[in-house]
Symmetry: C2
Subunit: 175 residues, 2 copies
């Protein structure tokens, strides 16, 4: 029951639980779909945080349903903890971009290899951009609230920038 400060991952789960009781499985899917593009988490973490939060009284585990589904419900203390977390100034973003490390040390790579790596990643980002744009086109109109739309827009703008960066690389690096 001793309350430790919420981490962002746990807080996000509480955020989703504002829409009603959900199981760990559902939360994993929700997180992946709705915040996965800028906040990674794993199934393992979700079950751990849920157990910890149930322990702290922020949520309560319901009866197991079919297939052992166990819904968690937000409690008033959970609501309060979420509100407190949300009010804090969010920290800076953390970016860990291995490709940029490789670029930085690119002079240690034989000619062509860096270009090859860059080409592969460019394609990957092009695919992600296409995915975001499709989602945006599809969901704008029906149930996409402006907050979710803002985060999606960030994804679109980010991926476009990454592509523009690839395309603006000097020939020395691109070849």
């Amino acid at each position: 029951m001793a309350r430790r400060a919420l981490n962002a991952t746990a807080a996000s789960l509480l955020g989703f639980l504002h829409d009603g009781p959900m199981t760990g499985w559902d939360l994993v899917a929700a997180a992946e779909g709705r915040i996965g593009d800028f906040w990674s988490l794993t199934q393992s973490q979700v079950y751990r945080e849920l157990a910890a939060m149930a322990d702290d009284g922020l949520i309560t585990a319901g009866e197991r349903g079919r297939r052992d589904r166990r819904p968690y419900t937000l409690t008033p203390p959970g609501r309060a903890a979420f509100a407190e977390w949300l009010h804090q100034d969010p920290g800076q973003e953390l970016i860990r971009f291995p490709l940029l490390l490789v670029v930085m040390f690119g002079r240690h790579l034989p000619a062509g290899r860096l270009a090859q790596i860059l080409a592969g990643h460019r394609e990957l980002h092009a695919d992600r951009l296409a995915g975001y744009e499709a989602t945006l086109a599809e969901r704008r109109g029906d149930g996409l609230d402006p907050y979710a739309e803002a985060t999606l827009t960030f994804g679109v703008m980010y991926e476009r920038t990454v592509l523009a960066w690839f395309d603006a690389l000097p020939p020395q690096i691109r070849v």
Copy 2:
């Protein structure tokens, strides 16, 4: 001496050591200055990785100098391990952007508070952009190799995009 696979942090240290022996302190400064914008690490990690790599024979610790400075030197196996790491396809970038979480759950915040948070972060990013641009202007010309310049350019483009995103947010969110 048992060789485990290099992680990106350790590999980066080896990368820096290609330019000559350096101490942990120097490496922390080098990492912060040269890759810190897209690969975070702490002093604590650096000393740990150095100890582990010395153990594995990838680097050798030199004599302690004044103020206990202890230079580490790259060994041939270290060079090989670095080359091997660099050849792999780098993984995807990891972005953890707490501000976007707050935006996503923005409907749970009272009017004005989100705008306030956004304004603070916008300023922060404007400062970072100014810093990158100053560095680029200052160092372009003298000893800035195209690889380092490419990573800096990424920083500039990224920050500009973030600013553009702030400025394109719909009024419902910005107020």
